[in-house]
Symmetry: C2
Subunit: 240 residues, 2 copies
DNA sequence: CAGTGGTCTAGACCACGGT
DNA sequence: CCGTGGTCTAGACCACTGA
C-alpha cells in the first residue's frame, strides 16, 4: 500500500480482525495516534473515517473511538467480492464448473442491462459454483467485449476479476446489486442441486469501472437455503 | 443543516435528483467549486466524497467528477430507512396493523440477539405491513427497555424511529442486516397473504445508537415475490 | 504543458463528555 | 476545566489526463 492513511487503516483494521484490539475497547485518541505514527491529524482522521465506514469502530464526540463488536466472519458478501476471493476467505471447499463461454450478440434485455447496441459483441460466461460437492450457485456473466477483448477457459475457471484487474489493468470501482427471489426456471433445475426447492435467490449486479463505464452484468442464482447476505449500513444523512 | 460541507452536499445531491445536473456530465472542478461557494478546497472535497460514497458521482483523477447514471428511484432499501419513510418515498398505499405490543422477558435467543440479561425488560412489537391491501410484511421488533422506557399504540402505528429520534433524542447510527430465505412458519401463514408461497425472505437487523449501544433487534419477514433489496457498493480497499 | 483530483501538513476554533 | 472528536482554512507537493 502506498499512502500513509491506508497503511494506518490496514494496520488498525488488521489488529482488530486478529483480535489484538478487543471489541468495546477504546482506541488511542487522535492526538495520541498523531504522535505514534508521526503524521498529521488529518491523516489519522482519514484512517479512522475508513475504519468507521467499514464498521470497525464508532467515533463518539467528546469520548473517543470505540471498537465495534460486529462478528465480521459471518459472511462478508457486502461490498464487491468475487466468488473466488470469498470462498478462499471462508475456507470452503469450492469448485467452479465452466458451462458455457462464447461471444454473442445481445438480445433486447442485455442491450438494456449493458447499455449497448445490437451489433456490439458480448462475452457470455456461464459457471456453476459447487460448494462441498453441491451445485449451489448458477453464475451468468456478460462482459462488454470492448473492455475485455479476450477470455479463455482457464481464466474463467480461475478468477475473472483477478485477470481483469491485474492483467488488463482495469480498475473495478462500484456496483449496483439487486436481490430478489424468483421461481426456479428449467435452467436452474437443470444445472443446480435444488433439493426440491422451487425458488432461487437472484442477485443481479451491474459493475462499473473507475471511469464510470458499465462493463459487466452478472446474474447469480442461489439455492435459497444456502443464501445469506450481510450488510453493514450507516444511517444516511438526510436531504432537505 | 449546520455544516458547510453538508449544505454543499445537499445542494448538489438535490440538483442531481431533480435532474438539474444530468447524468454523465461533469461537475465543476474542485477549484471552481471553491470559488463558487467561497470555502476551502477541503470543505469541497468533503462534500464530493459524500456524493461519491452515496453513488451520485464518480471522481476520476486528472479528469474531474462525473455524475453517475444510476436510477436512484428504483428501490432504496439500502442504508437505514424505516418502513414509513420508505413507503412515503415510493408513494405506496401502505398501512400498518399493530398485532402485539407488550413488555416481555427475553428467552435465550433474544438475550443473545440483544446482548442482555434474563431479567432485563424488552418491548416486543409485532406489526403487519399492508401494501395495496395485501399483507406483505411481518415485522417483529424488540427494544431494550432501558433505552425506550415507554411505547404506545399510537407510536407503533406511526413511526417508532421518528419517536425515538425526535422525542427521545436518541441517535440511530448504524445497523447490521442479514438477509436469508426460510420456509414459512405457521405464524407467517397466519398473518400474511402468502398466496401459496411456502417461503419467506427474512431480514434480521441489529440496530445501534451513536454511542455504539445495541438497542434494537428486528426481524422482518417478507412475501418472496414482493421483496427487493438494492445495494450500491464500492469495491473495498484490500487488506495486507 | 496546464488542469485535474489525491495526499499531507499545521494550525485554528467549535461542540461535546466527563471531572 | 481539559480532552475528545468535528469543522474549516491555506498552502504544499504529487500523479494523472489531455491537448
Amino acid at each position: 500500500m502506498n499512502t500513509k492513511y491506508l497503511n494506518i487503516y490496514n494496520e488498525i483494521a488488521g489488529n482488530i480482525e486478529k483480535g489484538e484490539i478487543k471489541p468495546n475497547t477504546k482506541l488511542p485518541s487522535e492526538n495520541e495516534l498523531v504522535k505514534k505514527y508521526s503524521v498529521s491529524r488529518d491523516t489519522i482522521r482519514k484512517a479512522l473515517n475508513l475504519l468507521e465506514q467499514y464498521g470497525y469502530i464508532q467515533k463518539i464526540r467528546g469520548k473517543g473511538s470505540y471498537v465495534i463488536d460486529i462478528n465480521r466472519f459471518d459472511f462478508p458478501v457486502s461490498g464487491l467480492v468475487s466468488f473466488k476471493e470469498l470462498s478462499e476467505k471462508m475456507g470452503m471447499k469450492a469448485n467452479t464448473i465452466l458451462e458455457e463461454l462464447q461471444i454473442i450478440k445481445p438480445d433486447k434485455y442485455l442491450m438494456n442491462q449493458l447499455k449497448i447496441k445490437e451489433n456490439d459483441d458480448i462475452w457470455k460466461v456461464v459457471r456453476i459454483r459447487e460448494i462441498d460437492g453441491k451445485k449451489i450457485i448458477l453464475d451468468k456473466d456478460f462482459f462488454n467485449k470492448s473492455f475485455v477483448p479476450s477470455l479463455t477457459e482457464d481464466i474463467c475457471k480461475d478468477s475473472i476479476y483477478e485477470y481483469i484487474e491485474n492483467k488488463l489493468g482495469l480498475c473495478i470501482s462500484f456496483s449496483k446489486k439487486e436481490i430478489t427471489v424468483e421461481n426456479a426456471t428449467k435452467e436452474d433445475k437443470k444445472y443446480l442441486d435444488l433439493q426440491g426447492y422451487n425458488m432461487v435467490v437472484v442477485v443481479k449486479s451491474h459493475i462499473y469501472l473507475d471511469d464510470a463505464n458499465l462493463f459487466q452484468y452478472n446474474e447469480s442464482r442461489h439455492r435459497p437455503d444456502k443464501f445469506k447476505f450481510v450488510d453493514f449500513a450507516r444511517r444516511k444523512k438526510l436531504m432537505e
